[in-house]
């Protein structure tokens, strides 16, 4: 499990962004998380409270928005979801997918701050 390391990086990233926006305090952090990031949502949520302890983010909430895998299907010529991680092919036509356009996200997309 490396989610505690990830949570610590997340706290550092959010603190930096909060400072840039002149935040006096942060009440929530919005994160986009894709399944190909290699990070487990439940473990990250569990680690978040530990990682924020004693920081400017202590007591804040972590809100995770899923970024499901989407690929560019060369047969459909469209952006499509995949069947599953175990069947990495276009959900519409079944063409094996190699061009990933979404699903690797592990990024802070929003902060709820008081300033």
């Amino acid at each position: 499990m490396h989610e505690l390391s990830i949570a610590i990086s997340l706290v550092e990233a959010a603190e930096e962004e909060a400072a840039k926006h002149g935040a006096a305090s942060v009440s929530a952090v919005h994160l986009r998380l894709g399944p190909l990031s290699g990070v487990a949502k439940e473990a990250l949520l569990f680690s978040y409270d530990l990682a924020t302890e004693g920081t400017a983010l202590a007591g804040s909430r972590l809100l995770i928005e899923d970024a499901p895998v989407e690929v560019f299907c060369t047969s459909c010529g469209e952006r499509r979801p995949i069947r599953s991680l175990q069947a990495f092919s276009c959900a519409a036509c079944g063409t094996p997918a190699t061009e990933i356009v979404q699903g690797r996200e592990l990024e802070v997309v929003g902060l709820e701050i008081d300033s």
Binding site: M1, E17, G38, L85, V109, G110, L111, E112, I113
Partner: protein
């Protein structure tokens, strides 16, 4: 007194930005120095060190090679790999289950990269955590030994997604474990369509030409 006004600000910031910046810097250094950086990832015991030991021994004949090897504890792997005569440094991670770009950068301290043709980076044995961290390598090989079961790719799709080539190891044992090549190829293609799959035995040397070819090709 001014009352605090809560508001939502939009940001766009990768959580691993710091790692990715270091990895990008390493990639640039490797490229500038003309060194090919290859990392190996797999579960513990699938034969990363055996493959690397043989690879270093073969490559040191005609190339300048070095290796970094990550483990939670002990210098055992570095000691083993040094028998190849190549310079080797151990990265002891303590409790950390993966290497990150900063650990690689720090471990390279004092090495002249321009004096190398190949740099190998053996990650900590783990099929989950290393997938999140870019190490600046040019080629990432994911290893899977014939004794582990053909469905490993289905169970750990993320690490296969993060790698460039799959290397099936210990192929000398394939008959003994009735290894199903069709199943493993099918499973790798299911999680990572188009991924190249090699089979090697560090013990007998079987498949080594293909592996060497892969190292020179990328």
């Amino acid at each position: 007194m001014k009352t605090a006004v809560p508001r939502l600000v939009e940001v766009r910031r990768s959580v691993l930005k710091q790692n990715d910046l270091i990895a990008a810097m390493l990639r640039e250094r490797f490229h500038g120095a003309g060194v090919r950086a290859v990392s190996l990832v797999s579960s513990p015991g699938s034969g990363k060190t055996a493959l690397l030991e043989k690879t270093l021994t073969v490559l040191t004949k005609n190339h300048r090679v070095a290796a970094l090897v990550g483990d939670l504890a002990t210098e055992n792997d570095a000691t083993r790999l040094r028998r190849s005569q190549a310079p080797v440094r151990q990265i002891v991670t303590g409790t950390v289950c993966h290497l990150d770009a900063g650990m690689v950068r720090d471990a390279l301290e004092g090495w002249k990269l321009e004096e190398l043709d190949y740099l190998f980076i053996e990650n900590v044995g783990n099929l989950v955590c290393p997938s999140s961290y870019d190490l600046g390598e040019e080629l990432r090989a994911v290893l899977l030994s014939v004794t582990e079961g053909e469905d490993k790719p289905l169970k750990y799709p993320t690490i296969f997604d993060s790698a460039d080539v799959a290397v099936v190891t210990k192929v000398d044992l394939a008959p003994a474990v009735e290894f199903d090549w069709d199943a493993v190829r099918r499973n790798i293609a299911a999680v990572r369509p188009g991924m190249e799959v090699l089979g090697v035995s560090a013990k007998t040397g079987e498949g080594f030409d293909d592996w060497m070819g892969c190292l020179t090709r990328f």
